[in-house]
Amino acid sequence: MIEFQQVHKTYRVAGRDIPALHPTSLSIDNGQVFGLIGHSGAGKSTLLRLINRLEAPSGGKIIIDGEDVTAFDANQLRGFRQQVGMIFQHFNLLASKTVADNVGLPLTLAGELSRKEIDARVAELLQRVGLSEHAKKYPAQLSGGQKQRVGIARALSTRPKILLCDEATSALDPQTTASVLQLLAEINRELKLTIVLITHEMDVIRRVCDHVAVMDAGQIVEQGPVADVFLHPKHPTTRRFVQEDEQVDEAEQRDDFAHVPGRIVRLTFQGDATYAPLLGTVARETGVDYSILAGRIDRIKDTPYGQLTLAVTGGDMEAAFARFTAADVHMEVLR
């Protein structure tokens, strides 16, 4: 478990203190995929780097599996960092080393394994990320997605307990992003590894994360299980991220619906409820009429969900609303 206790970070720039992270408490369970989302400058990168102490905290404690990592000396810190893998937006592979040497670098630096053992481990890792035939190439000869796979293999080489992902897919095209995220999910499942990732794309959170924290101006403004935060965003920053993901403009939509008659409700289905024939049944039984104004059916990690905005007219509207609420559906009356 990763636990932040009132951790804060202030940079001193030109004689002035600039707070990058306000006192923050946070806990991340083992085996979780934890997403931090925020715009650039929100403090997510600082928070991530505090975990492996690439940034030293200005105050507070960071406890990882019962150990206060803020109290580590240089030697302990090196040992600890070997148990925390990290991947980067721009991959940060060494251009002067082959793919195999890049992947083996953390093991070479740790100096605990023989050359032969390192080679065997590297071969195994390259197989896992599907790059066995590229072992002797140099990073410049690979595509972006392949480079990030090398980065992942490298981060996993020392069998870490935690993997930190710094905007790992931001430099990749959508298709490559999907495959890299899939690889991360796979690693999380099979190796029971805790993943902390930062991103500015809600889509990344929706695809792989279990838990999300939304950051704005150096603090966490909202956090919880991804489905809760994603489907029922409360803070304005969170709402903006969700709208960006859905490519919906709330104000524009309100104008569009202005001339639609009847009440407007938003229904959110999750899990099995997503595929139940609820709308038709309720309409028949209560005599209401509905038209779908907007809607989306998708998945959050492995759970299907649907979100529909309806205009409801005629019939026994109250009874219909009662039926929706009684079924396993979240209903929000917009008008």
Partner: protein, 223 residues
């Protein structure tokens, strides 16, 4: 007959000897320049602004020493250095007397080039290596220097060529070499043929050094 006459003043064994001297001075001083300049360049980089061991005071002192040595004309350095040279090599004359001032003249220049080459390395590389739990020594040896290798080879090439022109001046302390020959015979005795031969040989030397350097840079660029 005219063509042969033209080279009448050229004593080929003299030329051969001078070429040998130039080579010894060049590679002798280049060896020590790299030996001293590389660590100095690494120190300049590490203590420099926004780097791992940012130390304004230390950097300012190192920088000042480097700048003073670089702003001194080599010919002056050669003379000022005489007592020190005698202390190191036992003589201030000949090839042995030329190497210490050559090294002192070229090291600050080379160190600056190394510092620049290291700054070209993506900061993300340092961060990634740190995140693996590397020691400072490991970061320098396993990441920074290998990544900066093309830049460092380019720096060695430029330094070697600068040293070629410095060796010509080393004639002042009786160091010998092609440049010395050009000055003493070609210039002072108006033996144009000697001048042409020595200049052509120096030109070939510079060309060869540059193309070897370029090949090494390309080879290690991996791009």
């Amino acid at each position: 007959m005219d063509a042969l006459n033209f080279f009448a003043n050229v004593d080929w064994s003299e030329i051969w000897l001078a070429t040998g001297d130039t080579f010894i001075m060049l590679f002798g001083s280049l060896f020590f320049t790299v030996l001293l300049g590389l660590p100095l360049g690494v120190l300049l980089f590490m203590f420099g602004p926004r780097q791992m061991f940012e130390q304004k005071g230390i950097y300012a002192v190192l920088s000042l020493v480097v700048n003073i040595l670089r702003s001194l004309p080599f010919i002056i350095l050669l003379i000022v250095m005489i007592p020190v040279t005698v202390l190191i090599t036992g003589t201030s004359l000949g090839v042995a007397g030329a190497i210490p001032p050559l090294v002192v003249g070229a090291t600050p220049f080379f160190a600056r080039l190394v510092e620049t080459a290291l700054r070209e390395v993506d900061r993300g590389i340092i961060e990634a290596t740190q995140s693996m739990g590397a020691t400072t020594r490991q970061i320098i040896m396993n990441a920074l220097l290998p990544e900066a290798r093309p830049g460092i080879f380019a720096a060695i090439t430029v330094t070697a060529i600068t040293l070629v022109s410095y060796t010509a001046m080393a004639g002042v302390v009786g160091a010998g070499g092609l440049g010395d020959l050009a000055i003493r015979f070609g210039y002072q005795r108006f033996q144009t043929d000697v001048m042409i031969v020595t200049v052509v040989l120096l030109l070939i030397l510079v060309q060869v050094l540059q193309s070897i350097g370029d090949k090494l840079v390309v080879h290690f660029s991996r791009k």
